[in-house]
Symmetry: C2
DNA sequence: GGAGTTCGCGAACGCTGTTCTCGAACTATA
DNA sequence: TATAGTTCGAGAACAGCGTTCGCGAACTCC
């Protein structure tokens, strides 16, 4: 019995047949998270969503963390993967765009993906695609794995900034505005004055920034 | 009474004097986290560390999340900030190196900093420094704030990769090695074969990658 | 039909963040 | 020096959490 969930057999061949499976439980957890955020994802709430008891879930999953890993990997599997065009930077930006879409569909995902980088079948598919994009590119295995990790982190960062802006998180800027009004730290004051208008086209801004970052990284 | 902690007055002028202050409580929380990780940071464990009752902490902090914000900002204040040299990329890499040092000193910080970007006095100081570095650089306020956010995210990503490698996290690569051994997905197999040797100099690898990323971003 | 195995899940445990409450400790005023 | 007003410390309690135990029910295989 390995400690990583994707290597454990899903169902027993004998005995009483199971009423659910991992995919169904994962879907229920994602549904709960979509509706109430990550904090709403408790074993009991998922059990209610499925109409079973909380203890029953442990027949399919050995801990709540396992379930979070399944959620992450399930969303990775949602990511659209177009065939490579030959332009590594453009192809990676396309992957990033796909990941971004998934993250906007599941607002809890950026926070989760950045705290526990789980690699299941879905994540492996994305990694494999990135490797295909980088096939003709120089760089050792560590560098390519680094590109993959950075791609995820960058997309999550952009997604979180966008979500925070939409979610009118005054909390984040409350102290910033206080410092800006204070008058010391003139650079902060100038920054804050300029910050009034909302971003007209976050998508293009994100794409150009990502392309710039990636073309720098790939040399 | 604002909902951001740095705008709330610390002590009352009248009444029974407080036995502790925010800085002391923050230091206790950081000490607990350094010793036992983020999961060990509970109100009760911090109270034990201080020799008081758990309920007493709510005289200084309105929630555990407030305390986490204080921890983040306290570590930001630990960051060394050298005067700018005129080379923006080199200066930003220097900031990143400083943040990286702090994160290696507090292994729980990358995870925390990436989930809740708290901006208190310490974080403002770092932001102000980044703005000074970028003073002569074109780009609007949003772009410069973006550079700051990305810098934090990138450093946290590098730090977490390094900590995961040191902490022999077989869990992360367990399924990867299984897929590699499976034979399907030849690119994964090739990647895994090449991945055997450990990185000789992570510091230089990190610095060059960061410089490449940032010089790409800054144009 | 019996043996063997797995599943569902109510009940319980220990832990968590947080609130209530009230006596104690202090300052300011008279 | 007495009193009023305010804040602090913290024990007790509450709701909710992840997780484990144990047992009756449900199923497969021989």
């Amino acid at each position: 019995m390995t400690d990583v969930i994707w290597l454990r057999p899903e169902r027993a061949a004998t005995g009483r047949p199971a009423a659910h499976d991992r995919a169904e439980i994962t879907a229920a957890a994602i549904s709960v998270a979509d509706r109430g955020g990550l904090d709403a994802v408790s074993m009991r709430s998922i059990a209610v969503e499925l109409g079973t008891g909380a203890a029953s879930l442990y027949r399919y999953v050995s801990s709540r963390d396992d379930l979070l890993d399944l959620m992450i990997d399930a969303t990775a599997a949602e990511c659209r993967l177009e065939p490579p065009t030959g332009d590594p930077v453009a192809d990676l930006v396309a992957v990033a765009e796909g990941l971004h879409e998934v993250m906007m569909r599941h607002p809890w995902l950026p926070e989760l993906a950045v705290t526990r980088p789980a690699l299941g079948p879905g994540g492996i598919a994305v990694l494999d695609h990135v490797l295909a994009v980088l096939a003709d590119h120089p760089g050792d295995a560590t560098a390519k794995l680094e590109v993959f990790a950075l791609l995820n982190a960058l997309v999550a960062t952009f997604a979180r900034n966008e979500l925070a802006a939409a979610d009118q998180s005054r909390r984040a800027v409350a102290y910033l505005s206080h410092v800006a009004a204070g008058g010391e730290r003139p650079r902060i004051s100038a920054l804050f004055d300029e910050l009034s208008t909302a971003d007209p086209d976050p998508r293009e801004r994100r794409a150009t920034a990502l392309a710039a970052l990636l073309s720098g990284l790939l040399g």
